[in-house]
Amino acid sequence: MATHIPAWKAITVLVALGALVCVGQRSRVAAQTQAPAPLTIDSAPERILYEVFFQAVVAWDRRASDPEVPAARRNKVRDHMREVVGLDVSDYQLVKSVAYWVVSFLQENAIRADAILRDAKLSAEDRQKALALLKAERDAAIDAAVLRLRNYFGSAGFWELDQRVRGHIVPRLRILTTPSGPPPPKQE
């Protein structure tokens, strides 16, 4: 099956690779860490998986109301993720409400992070602390949302849902791991 690599993409990749070569030692680390970790259905990290899942649930639900989608097709688009996870309408309603809640939380979190990044008065250390706090809040929100699903569906029901979520999300997901710890000092 033929793949399509448009010229813009080749150029972008070359530019990105060039940038990696130019920044020396740190770039090699970056190059190593950019290799996508092989994801399997069972090993894919739950937090990322469910963040994507919640984002997808909200995105497809909103897409169904998009004027670009023909009216005759909207129910199908709206039901896409529901069919992915094999839930009936009432159970999926709960999933949707949890997803809308967590996505809204993440959006607010991102706005706050943006404000921190733009705050020139913050020292690098304070900025790092503030962002780490936001990241922890973010993670906690996703964990709480997953816990809500666990409680609602029970262990057997959640296991079934989880398998379906993983079965759909994992093959379509790439995770690139950034370096551990704070960024290295800039090389002058």
């Binding site: 970056a30 950019q34 995105a59 897409r63 992070a113 922890a136 906690a140 950034t178």
Partner: protein, 374 residues
Amino acid sequence: MLARRLWLAIAFLGFFSASAQGQLYYYGDLYVYEDGAQAWTLAHLPYSWLYMTLGLYRNSSQVAYASDQGADTVSIWLSNEGCLPPYTWYVADGYVEGYSEYYEDWFYGQFWEDDRTPGSSVNVDSASIPADNIQVTLSPCGGYGPLTLQVEGDMTHTIFQGDRGGGSHSFSFDIDNLPNDREFTLVRATWEPYFSPAESGTLQYHFKVLGDYNHTQYNTPDHNLNCSGPMVPFTYINEPTCWAIDCPSAQTASDQALNGWLDEVRENGTGLHPTLGIMWGEPQCISRARYRRTGRTCPACLALGELVPFQDVAICLSHLDLNCGDTVYVHGVGTRIVKDRGGRVGPNQLDHYIGITGCNVYTHYGNKKTIKLY
């Protein structure tokens, strides 16, 4: 307030327990359906700037493209709709690159997924011999190719063969050319749009083509309409019951009527007398009288009630395929119910009751394709 405190507590714990490792995740989903596709990509890199592109290709030609950039989380939707042939190939091809201000580093990823629209489907929505119509829906709408429409039973008979596109289509049974003395139970439509395997849809529909029957008419002749001959005396059984009667003890009476009318009553089974009402040609107690004053038509299928004009027919005394209550379709005439039998009706004949009219007032329908409906 409590929730806020809880979040801060969780965040605080998270800060000291979690690794500072960050992750760019990049997700894409291509959803392909009968007449289009939706593609969606999402990338998230905490505290970053992201640039993302997404292309949607249909059979190797780009049909949609978009790029977007922004902070933290970026997503792109693309869609394409159309009247498509089956197995149309869609590809979603995405790329993301991001710069993390936190890590002061670049990250990038690619997404590629392909899928095909569903194959063809054929649905026989309805079939009706009386309406002479078979409704078939072919999908997807972009398919085009040979369609074969058949009826199956103790043989397979092809009704239609020709190229058709996706959509809803009506066909005739081509009743005149249905083979006689054959029973069918199924309508099958088989469609093979170009470049796709054949698919078929069926509908249970049971009928038997009895043959090209002779269709005659009978009536209840009105003594006052078109009847001739001299007035003659006649004896009748004065019991308003149909069929069962104790012949020796039955009461009889006499009256007068036109000779031609009496002949018609015996021929048609009933007649309307000006004073006695509906008289019946007596079938059981002929030794005492040839007429019975029933006041009603008393068809052979008594349990089905009175004869209804232009709705009921009589069959021969012992028909191989038809019985009381059966429904028959007479091509060019309509649907009829078997409610009567006649000694003078042949095996390949149906006699249609037309109600109260004059003596010898009827028009035969002639030979018509006759079909039993189940």
